[in-house]
Amino acid sequence: MKQRVKRRTAVPDGLLSHLDSVWEGGMRQTFEYYRSFAGSEVALAAAMVESAVDLQGLGRGPADPGGLLLGDLCLARASRLLAETGDQRLQVGFARIVERVAAAAASGESPPLLREELSSLIAEDG
């Protein structure tokens, strides 16, 4: 109950719909990391991108269909959060990072360091 209240104060209602298990499974910590230097929408978008890559096993091995669909939802919701910020630089930057991660996964190459890339992009904004 205490955790739920805490979450509600940190993340606006509805943004974690269908993603409670992902939130409890580690997205919360990722969000808190980004939240230390970014606004809540951008921090949540970054946490969702990290979670999507993890859920879908990009660069590791294929996710099961359930993980794939949750990952897709994370990517889509990250896009919506970024759209709501109206920050075109971040929208384009986030998308380019996901493109690089996906292209590396498809090629069997080492993926870029996702957290570093996202953090660097967000920090430029500050």
């Binding site: 719909s17 269908h18 999507a52 879908q56 096993g57 990009l58 091995g61 294929p62 996710a63 269909p65 359930g66 794939l68 669909l69 949750l70 990952g71 897709d72 939802l73 990517l75 889509a76 919701r77 896009s79 919506r80 970024l82 759209a83 709501e84 109206g86 075109q88 929208q91 384009v92 986030f94 998308a95 380019r96 996901v98 493109e99 991660v101 996906a102 292209a103 996964a105 498809a106 090629s107 069997g108």
Partner: protein, 461 residues
């Protein structure tokens, strides 16, 4: 201006009433006739025309009236070949048919207003076969004010060029499978909706519209790549699916890459409303995919469930295509709202037509795939509710199905008329969608939107 056309008909009985109203309306729409007249003329002496009610019992009454007026075998001099000169070896005995034509018309004129045939609620245009079955031809001439139209396929070519451009520089491991999927065809309904909607505002720009249209097609194709992994579909558009050809890891990465790339292309357009519209649609698609998979536990589901999933799975992107196209060219709020509703209705109708392809051998996807993978499908819902076959359908769908049981389900769906019911419902939705546009000023775009909406339903692939 005058436009001339020919209509081909195949009749299947000696006496037959064919309702040609829709086909005539399609001629009006395709020609872009806004206000004027349509003349239609039979090119035969035993094929007549009538404007009357298409009601099955009335048609039987009219057939009986024709037969009483000129009974077959009534001793017609025309059938006495010994007294006639120059007759061919296959001359039919059809004096009765010629005489029956006296009760009908060889031609008729219909008024056209605002691009629609002017007909009363119960009026239909009937071609009346009097000596069939045969191949028949009608001459159609349209006269009046035509809406200027853009070259018919200019938008489509622009979309294809844009898709090719967007794929050109991508890394091989993602580009090759996506290019295979893109080049395998697809109907391009979503990008075409963007292209058409993007002409209806104060700031139309074909190049920006084509960038948005191409991105939307990439989003659609990315969802197909992921869907085929989730549904374990071996083929797509008649070719191996990306998951089947490249393996699941590559399929997931390809879908993600193009999902992200499309998002970027849209963001680069710099239109905040468009970016939000597409982002919301993508989220709706993902939520309904999750819903769809979850609901496979309560298979085959019911109509409300079906509609909820389809609105997200398919209609969301159709509606977003129309809305974003309108937003991109700064169309009015009223036009944007009406186009969005149009897209939603066409999207639902499109999915219903898609469900029918599970029963079509020429669709490019394996027959019965939806049944095997327990995908929500309207024909199955209707069959499961049918008084005669419903209990057997539910019993079969309640367990795991072997191939003979999949075929049995298909036979039951066909036999109970569920497919016809779905066709009617889809066509009704398209008409409702077109009604949404009736009050809008759609200079030059109405014929193409009408054709696109109708073709979304009447298709085999």
């Amino acid at each position: 201006m005058i436009a001339n056309r020919r209509l081909e008909l195949s009749t299947s009985a000696q006496t037959e009433f064919l309702d040609i109203t829709t086909r005539l309306q399609e001629q009006v729409t395709a020609a872009g006739l806004r206000d004027g007249r349509l003349f239609v003329q039979s090119l035969h002496t035993t094929l007549g025309l009538a404007v009357n009610e298409n009601e099955p019992l009335l048609l039987m009454d009219m057939q009986a009236t024709l037969e009483r007026f000129a009974p077959q075998g009534g001793g017609y001099q025309h059938d006495d070949f010994g007294r006639r000169a120059g007759i061919s070896t296959d001359e039919p005995i059809n004096g009765h048919a010629h005489c029956r034509l006296l009760l009908l018309q060889p031609a008729c004129t219909l008024l056209v207003e605002e691009g629609r045939l002017v007909l009363g609620r119960w009026q239909a245009v009937l071609a009346v076969e009097l000596d069939g079955p045969r191949q028949r031809r009608l001459a159609v001439q349209m006269d009046g004010d035509f809406t200027p139209q853009r070259p018919a396929d200019a938008d489509r070519r622009l979309v294809e060029l844009e898709l090719a451009r967007q794929l050109l520089l991508d890394p091989d491991p993602v580009r090759t499978p996506m290019q295979r999927l893109v080049e395998a065809g697809g109907k391009r309904v979503r990008p075409m909706l963007v292209m058409l909607a993007a002409q209806l505002g104060r700031a139309p720009d074909s190049l920006r519209a084509s960038a948005l249209a191409g991105a939307l097609e990439l989003i659609h194709d990315a969802t197909l790549v992921h869907d085929d992994y989730v549904d374990r579909a071996a083929t797509r558009r008649g070719r191996a699916s990306v998951a089947a050809a490249e393996g699941p890891s590559r399929a997931i990465a390809v879908g993600d890459y193009y999902f992200a790339k499309a998002t970027r292309i849209i963001a680069e357009l710099g239109n905040r409303a468009v970016t939000s519209t597409i982002a919301e649609a993508m989220e709706a698609i993902c939520l309904s995919q999750i819903d769809d998979v979850r609901l496979r536990g309560s298979y085959p589901g019911d109509y409300a469930m079906y509609l909820r999933v389809v609105r997200g799975k398919t209609a969301a992107l159709f509606a977003a295509a129309c809305k974003a196209g309108a937003q991109l060219c700064r169309a009015s709020a009223q036009a944007t709202a009406k186009l969005t509703r149009f897209g939603d209705l066409v999207g639902v109708a499109f999915q219903m037509a898609d469900d029918l392809l599970d029963y079509s051998e020429s669709s490019g996807k394996p027959l019965g795939q939806d049944i095997r993978e327990r995908v929500l499908s309207l024909p199955l819902i209707y069959a499961s509710e049918d008084r005669r076959v419903g209990s057997r359908v539910r019993e079969l769908l309640g367990g795991s199905l072997d191939e003979s049981e999949v075929r049995e389900v298909q036979r039951l769906v066909v036999s109970c008329g569920a497919l016809e019911r779905v066709v009617e419902e889809a066509r009704g939705l398209v008409e409702r969608a077109l009604a949404e546009l009736e009050e809008l000023e759609l200079d030059g775009v109405r014929p193409a939107l009408t054709e696109l909406a109708r073709s979304a339903v009447d298709r085999t692939r």
